[in-house]
């Protein structure tokens, strides 16, 4: 990086070339007051408080918009500048209640002391909505404003409370524009904008609509950007300054955002995104606003429960664990199964799988998160590259020249990935979107293809054919680093343009165009979500993407590679730890002698080498007669209410243990219920989608009598006489993990204190690996796979003429265990609607808003029709949580992931009176 030298207030200082004067001063430790500047946003120059004097330059330029140049001489604090700043500040404060900033009693102010009111609210300066972190006060102090010569003109606007989570009080707004810019530049949503002008100018929405009606996604970035307290998180308002800030990892999706929990009096007040993590100061609605409510939810399980003679009684831990230890000895090996889900830490998963394998001698250990969404990635990436996981890091997306986004509505599934995509697009990257539904990122795309659902393999093979035929393939990369290219090339011949047009419904010209773009614009990343994996042929879909990346040499370099988007928290960690039926830790297959021998040595025991039953097998009620005892950690059941067959099967189990934070339909059927601690009450680690191991920290005392998962399992194991389950704290478990998993060898809690580490991290001096396979693939060579097109199992016919696709909601996460506990999320959550194209409704005689019956071969639902062009003719779209009784449960034979994305349905207008049904 080139450096320049300049003088600030008489001190010579060095700055990066391209930095502004403000940035250079900040680097040199010189404070320049500013209210509109934010380092993550482009310079704006609205507040003018950062004016400086620069020798040989006319007037008083604002330092945030002036680039620093070599030899510049800057004065930041002359009498003249301070005088001008005072005038400017007075004008800003003439529209903002300033009494708290210039009050002479400020130093002595205490909670609830009688003070001067701030606008129409009953508050002193101590209970400021901004929690005492007021940037205005700081600036007032620096400039030394003691009294005001201008009078205060209150705007007398009502406080807007019509949106969930956020209160908007534009009486406090100073029009710095940070909220507008962060929403536009970083998030790419622009739900708010400057409206009107002159004295009427105000931040607002179109026609004064509520935020939710203006496309707001409630990420809270505007709240964090606001310097004045106009935008405030409703639940944390008036709470005052926090005592303690505990950094931790978000328990929602798999991106691994770093959050700071604000603690006051041993209670969590709020969670704010951290600047350091992958999220870089951003979060989504779940991480920002939905952390506190589930933890303190009144329904939390607080003590162990035992069912005796159909009566549920509270019991002590001693009693309960004795009972479980006693009973479990009867169900060893095939009769036992353990399913994990939700917010387990790596340590919990490791102990759970060790318990199942070592103590229960059973490989029937699985977890829900991957099995229902990302198992195909696991198998396909291992087959192609030799190791699973995102090949590069999330922060690299921002520098890519081309992004292929396929089968993912990133705005709902992983909003932080969306922010990175926006960053790349702002820098000029080409965004290619392949999705049967028009997602809102299509605004930013250079091309959007709307193929028929389930035709991904054909479409991708078509793209690859273009790349091979037009000599756009990276032949030296293929020659040097890959194998099986010949066979793969042969297989391409089966995909003729006519065939692809017929199968996918996409014009061949468009396929050619995106193939050229992806192959020529380097580096290119491939980002995919559940639209790729939740298919009968999910593994093939992922293999096709692996082929495409290898074919263009988009691997092993910065800002290239493949990005599987893990939907659920720590799904990656669960697989790494071996909480999967097919693998020991470190992805050692259970049915190989080498893997078995390795872990028999580490765990000093004999192991069962029969491959276990997966989550999908166990809950497929027809195929699992041998399971007698089931141990559930978290709530893995997706369907609400429970289907009868499943309920009957659960009732017939001889022993059902449920270990969860919250009671559920399943816990009511359980023989024993064990209360676990939430993520904020335990120490541990999560592994994010980018292979980053990050700390989860205990922030508050445990609620009720709950205990962390690992502690409960260890207690049971020890009661059963097992060795190797004595741990005082999770860091000791991590020590054992480092011996069991070579990729984790260099990781320790001590090192994680300074931020996460990306595996492989083979020794304690290793800094972690941000880019996989720079020189070699894990297997040595990358393997091309010759693929065949397989249609989806259920295609439309005369009886069921429409294809139903399902999507996730931003406001709900999978089994809804946590999200359903947050009232405002419930309000924003998916509505009971089916989206249908205008072309289809004319045939069916349906109007927008009509009540319709959607039926598939498995069930039927009454919902409202929403006529919209986001779906193509012949396709209808519903939220997965609403459509769960309609979807096709058939599973991918390799990864055992269900085909949630495609099924055939029909839609009829119902004769039911609208008012009878409360939707």
């Amino acid at each position: 990086m080139e450096k320049i030298t300049l003088t600030i207030d008489g001190e010579e200082t060095v700055a990066k070339k391209g930095a502004t004067v403000l940035e250079a001063a900040k680097e040199a430790g010189v404070y320049i007051p500013t209210l509109c500047n934010q380092s993550s946003l482009s310079p704006f120059g609205a507040c003018r408080l950062c004016i400086v004097q620069i020798e040989k330059m006319r007037g008083f330029p604002s330092s945030c918009t002036t680039p620093a140049t070599n030899g510049m001489v800057v004065h930041t604090n002359t009498t003249r500048i301070q005088e001008l700043r005072r005038g400017l500040l007075e004008m800003i404060l003439s529209e903002h209640p300033y009494f708290c900033a210039i009050c002479e009693r400020r130093e002595r102010c205490e909670a609830f002391s009688p003070g001067i009111q701030k606008t129409s609210m009953v508050v002193g300066c101590h209970t400021c909505p901004k929690k005492g972190i007021c940037e205005l006060q700081k600036v007032v102090e620096y400039i030394g404003l003691n009294n005001m010569s201008l009078t205060y003109h209150p705007r007398e606007l009502p406080i807007l409370r019509d949106s969930p989570f956020i209160d908007r009080d534009y009486n406090l707004c100073i029009l710095c524009g940070r909220c507008v810019r962060v929403c536009h530049e970083s998030i790419g949503v622009s739900a708010i904008a400057f409206t009107y002008r002159g004295s009427k100018a105000l931040v607002g929405t179109a026609f004064g609509h509520s935020l939710q009606d203006s496309g707001c996604q409630f990420c809270g970035a505007c709240v964090d950007a606001c310097p004045s307290g106009s935008l405030i998180e409703r639940a944390a308002k008036w709470k005052g300054e926090y005592d303690q800030l505990i950094p931790t990892t978000c328990p929602y999706c798999g991106i691994g955002c770093q959050l700071n929990l604000e603690i006051k009096n041993n209670k969590i007040d709020a969670s704010a995104p951290s600047e350091d993590g992958v999220n870089q100061g951003l979060a989504c609605v779940k991480g920002r606003f939905a952390i506190k409510e589930p933890i303190y939810h009144p329904s939390r399980l607080k003590s162990p429960l035992i069912k005796r003679n159909e009566k549920v009684e509270t019991a002590t831990w001693e009693e309960t664990t004795n009972l479980i230890a006693d009973k479990l000895t009867n169900y060893k090996s095939d009769q036992f199964a353990l399913i994990c889900s939700d917010t387990c830490t790596n340590e919990d998963y490791y102990i759970a799988q060790k318990f199942a394998r070592v103590v229960m001698k059973s490989n029937n250990i699985d977890h829900k998160s991957s099995r229902l969404s990302h198992s195909p990635s696991l198998f396909s990436l291992i087959q192609s590259f030799g190791s699973p996981g995102m090949t590069n890091s999330i922060s690299e997306i921002g520098n890519a020249a081309c992004i292929l986004l396929i089968g993912s509505n990133t705005s709902s599934d992983n909003p932080i990935i969306r922010a990175n995509i926006i960053k790349a697009v702002n820098k000029g990257a080409k965004l290619i979107i392949i999705n049967p539904r028009r997602i809102n990122l299509c605004h930013f795309s250079s091309s959007w293809l709307q193929p028929l659902p389930g035709s991904d393999v054909a479409l991708l093979m078509g793209m690859m054919q273009v790349i091979v035929d037009e000599n756009l393939a990276d032949l030296s990369f293929i020659e040097e680093r890959c194998e099986n290219f010949g066979e793969f090339k042969e297989a391409l011949r089966n995909f003729t343009p006519d065939f692809i047009e017929k199968v996918s419904g996409i014009d061949w010209k468009q396929v050619v165009e995106i193939a050229r773009t992806y192959a020529r614009q380097k580096p290119g990343v491939i980002i995919y979500g559940t639209g790729i994996t939740q298919h009968f042929h999910g593994t093939n879909n992922v293999l096709a993407l692996c082929n495409l990346a290898m074919l263009t040499g988009n691997l092993g370099n910065p800002s290239s590679g493949i990005y599987p988007l893990e939907g659920e928290n720590n799904a990656h960690g669960a697989c790494d730890m071996g909480a999967v039926a097919e693998f020991y830790p470190d992805y050692q297959p259970v049915n190989t002698e080498a893997g078995k021998a390795k872990y028999e040595k580490i765990w000093e025991c004999t192991l069962n080498s029969e491959p276990g039953m997966t989550f999908s097998d166990i809950f497929n009620t027809e195929a699992n007669p041998q399971i007698k005892a089931l141990y559930l950690i978290g709530n893995p059941i997706f369907n609400h209410p429970l289907p009868d067959k499943l309920r009957n099967w659960l009732q017939e189990l001889e022993l059902l243990i449920v270990q969860d934070c919250f009671p559920s339909e399943i816990s009511q059927l359980a023989h024993v219920v064990l209360p676990t601690s939430s993520f904020a009450e335990k120490d541990g680690t999560f592994t994010s989608a980018e292979r980053k191991v990050q700390r989860v920290r205990k922030a508050i005392r445990t609620i009720g009598d709950s205990k962390p998962d690992w502690q409960i399992i260890c207690q049971i194991a020890e009661k059963m006489g097992a060795k190797g389950f004595h741990f005082d704290n999770p860091s000791q478990i991590m020590e054992e993990i480092t011996t069991a998993i070579p990729n984790y060898s260099g990781i320790s809690y001590e090192r994680l204190e300074n931020g996460g580490l990306q595996w492989p991290c083979p020794n304690s001096n290793h800094q972690g690996t941000s880019i996989l396979y720079p020189d070699n693939f894990a297997n040595g060579k990358g393997k091309f796979t010759a693929l065949k097109y397989q249609p989806s199992t259920e295609l439309p016919d005369n009886n069921y003429p429409l294809i139903l696709i399902t999507e996730y909601s931003l406001y709900h996460l999978y089994t809804e265990v946590l999200t359903s506990k947050v009232r405002d999320l419930e309000m924003l959550g998916p509505k009971k609607i089916v989206e249908i194209n205008p072309n289809d409704v004319t045939k069916l005689g349906i109007n927008d808003g009509d009540l319709v019956k959607v039926s598939s071969r498995r069930g039927e639902l009454n919902v409202r029709a929403k006529v919209t062009e986001v779906v193509a003719p012949g396709i209808v779209s519903m939220n997965l949580h609403i459509a769960e009784s309609l979807i096709n449960p058939i599973i991918d034979p390799i990864s055992k992931t269900p085909e949630f994305k495609v099924c055939a349905v029909k839609i009829e207008k119902t004769s039911l009176e609208n008012k009878c049904i409360n939707l």
Binding site: S190, A191, A193
Partner: protein
């Protein structure tokens, strides 16, 4: 979407820099910028509705409620003010039954105030559509407005 709106929006090339031109055209054809127009424009211009509204509300030429057939502008510039402009405004308000900035219920008239027309020698003036009425008196208000009934 109403047919007329679709017609206006369909013939446009959606490039950067065309937003104000399109807003003007919609206003000219429909008389005002409706909510529907804003959301359709946003969809095609690939920006958010708040951004379109932000641009449109910046300019006083754009209106978000249906407009009357005729626009009455009463000058309140310095010269007209001295010559009794405020009393002329009062008379017009009384005659039309609306306040400045409003539209009559039968959508016949809008009433606006203007800071100066640049014809101070003729003050006080009112302008109806494009016709200037000079040396106004409160008495003449009624007969002038009758011309447009």
């Amino acid at each position: 979407m109403s047919g007329k709106l679709a017609e206006i929006l369909n013939i446009h090339k959606w490039e950067k820099g065309t937003l104000i031109f399109i807003l003007q055209k919609v206003q000219r054809e429909l008389g005002y910028i409706s909510e529907e127009a804003i959301s359709e424009i946003a969809k095609r211009a690939r920006i958010s509705i708040s951004e379109v509204f932000g641009v449109a509300s910046f300019y006083s030429q754009f209106h978000f409620t249906p407009r009357g057939k005729h626009t009455v502008k009463v000058c309140l510039g310095t010269s007209c003010h001295v010559q009794g402009g405020p009393r002329i405004l009062e008379a017009v308000e009384r005659e039309l039954g609306i306040k400045a900035g409003e539209t009559t219920k039968d959508y016949k008239f809008n009433l606006e105030t203007v800071a100066c027309f640049g014809c101070c020698a003729l003050s006080p003036v009112i302008v109806v559509d494009k016709t200037v009425y000079s040396r106004m008196t409160t008495k003449r208000v009624k007969e002038i407005l009758r011309l447009y009934q």
